[in-house]
Symmetry: C2
């Protein structure tokens, strides 16, 4: 049976090289050379089996997603990803599983030129913890606390897809492969985050649900929001999977795991935001307005008030 | 019941401030300002309940140890600790447990001026993952691959204590509080690591066992080692707890979890190493010599060959 050091060798053999990695996997710690004139951006997220992904999830998808959720955090800061570390706990050292996991992890790492520089492998219930490191010019990071009353609210992509896939899976019903890919292989909006620098006032990635995450922006910025739930783009797959408009709105408002960017920008930046979306090949849509006050008022396209059954996803309540 | 965001608020309230933290806990990612002319040193280690600590371990001790094992990795690189991130998985959000955990974590963080800048809390089997960040002058890091034939082998402290405590705990026998503290509250040898810069050729922290970790140095450096097991300092507590000299040697040679530094240095540096130990108030002892070849030959003080039942600790075999 493989041991810890065999697994580390397997992981090391797959790692991307970067000139700014002075020492990667294999010592007590990694040595990195941050570039001059950049701030370091650090995100850390853990995925636990049965909590953040169904136990039957393919290992390659777990690998992709573990890195994706962290790159999504860097994207929400407008940072350029550079390095990551990985801590992998598994019940038994399973080289076949690890190779498959690395297929997904590595595909996304290469797409964003991210070098895996360290971490550990150990025994325990299946759990994947990643720390991701990005770089940003001082003062250029997109934060949660910069939203201003009058700002447009924008969203990338088509929220609700991942939650619909999870609901299908839980119900044992139809498993739409397009929705399923949105759950298992979320696209971190790295290029969009970079393109928003200098235009957006605030940004967050939608991991807990649109209302929950927009609520974080509201609280951090000391403002409120008016959200037109029917302005949130609906994918064809979601429209096809969920007939009932109320149920669909609920998935879009409160469903987690989409990893789209929700951001605010002044009205004067509308053209720039559209251009940023085009430049990053990322669909963006205006879905509301930040207002004086607190909390989020949600309306339908006809202006009627609308509220979901629950606001979002608490990692302990789910 | 407390939720994720309550826990994060509890954690944030306890965090040390540092001028080089541009943005700490509370956004999608942290923003750090690395100093000019320094390399970044990154270590990441996870502790899983029942694997890395007995489930009955006090939460404050878990908090201390989760940070200590990572600071120990920084120490083994000769790095100055600066920041860390924490991912905490627990079955239910328990604010009393978290406060106790933070008592231990925070005590060690303050002792080393380490700021907790981010991470996450989530539901899952009890598990603590920490990423620690340190700083080192370019080229000054202590690596595993610098040992040379002819170097002295040195060890800090009194290895074997933690393994003896774990054995006592497993057997339900006498629980010596001195040994137990060495298991639950290991001392990362940060000051020693810093003082060794420019003097030691190679260093590693003893987490898996002296023979296993010295073996890593041998392989990385392409040399062998002769170790005098009876030159390894024995604590009074260990001598008192374990009568049999063979059993005691086995604990010292193969017991994990001591987090002492094992390092090599040229004979010409003996005075400097002794001075480094004194300056950092850390006991150091010469325990052998690096040699041409490969592998580790272990002898007793009388020069007789000696070998333990097992070389060390594999995180999957334990």
């Amino acid at each position: 049976m493989a041991g810890e050091f065999d697994l580390i060798d397997r992981i090391r053999a797959r790692v991307l090289a970067r000139a700014d990695v002075a020492l990667g996997i294999g010592d007590d710690a990694a040595l990195l050379q941050p570039p001059l004139g950049r701030q370091l951006v650090v995100a850390m997220d853990t995925l636990n089996s049965g909590v953040h992904f169904p136990p039957a999830t393919a290992p390659a998808d777990i690998g992709w997603k573990a890195l994706a959720v962290n790159l999504s955090d860097l994207a929400a800061m407008g940072a350029l990803p550079a390095w990551c570390t990985l801590s992998l706990s598994m019940p038994e050292p399973d080289p076949v599983w690890v190779d498959a996991f690395l297929d997904g992890f590595d595909a996304l790492a290469r797409a964003h030129d991210v070098a895996l520089v360290g971490g550990d492998t150990t025994r325990g219930p299946l759990s994947v913890c990643v720390t991701a490191f990005g770089l940003v010019a001082p003062g250029a990071a997109l934060r949660r606390n910069g939203a201003q009353a009058g700002d447009d609210i924008w969203i990338s992509g088509t929220p609700g897809d991942a939650a619909a896939a999870l609901a299908q899976w839980s119900d044992g019903g139809t498993r739409d492969p397009v929705l399923r890919a949105r759950l298992d292989r979320p696209t971190p909006r790295v290029e969009l985050g970079l393109a928003l620098a200098g235009h957006a006032h605030a940004a967050i990635d939608v991991s807990d649900g649109l209302l929950a995450d927009l609520g974080h922006v509201c609280r951090a910025s000391g403002v409120g929001a008016m959200l037109d739930i029917d302005a949130v783009p609906v994918s064809a797959a979601l429209r096809n999977a969920v007939d009932d408009v109320h149920a669909r709105r609920a998935l879009q408002a409160s469903g987690g795991d989409d990893y789209e960017l929700c951001f605010t920008a002044p009205v004067s930046a509308r053209d720039a935001i559209v251009a940023a979306g085009a430049a990053s090949a990322t669909p963006v849509a205006r879905i509301g307005r930040m207002i004086e006050g607190a909390g989020i008022a949600v309306s339908t396209g006809e202006g009627a008030p609308w509220s979901p059954a629950r606001a979002g996803w608490d990692h302990f309540a789910g």
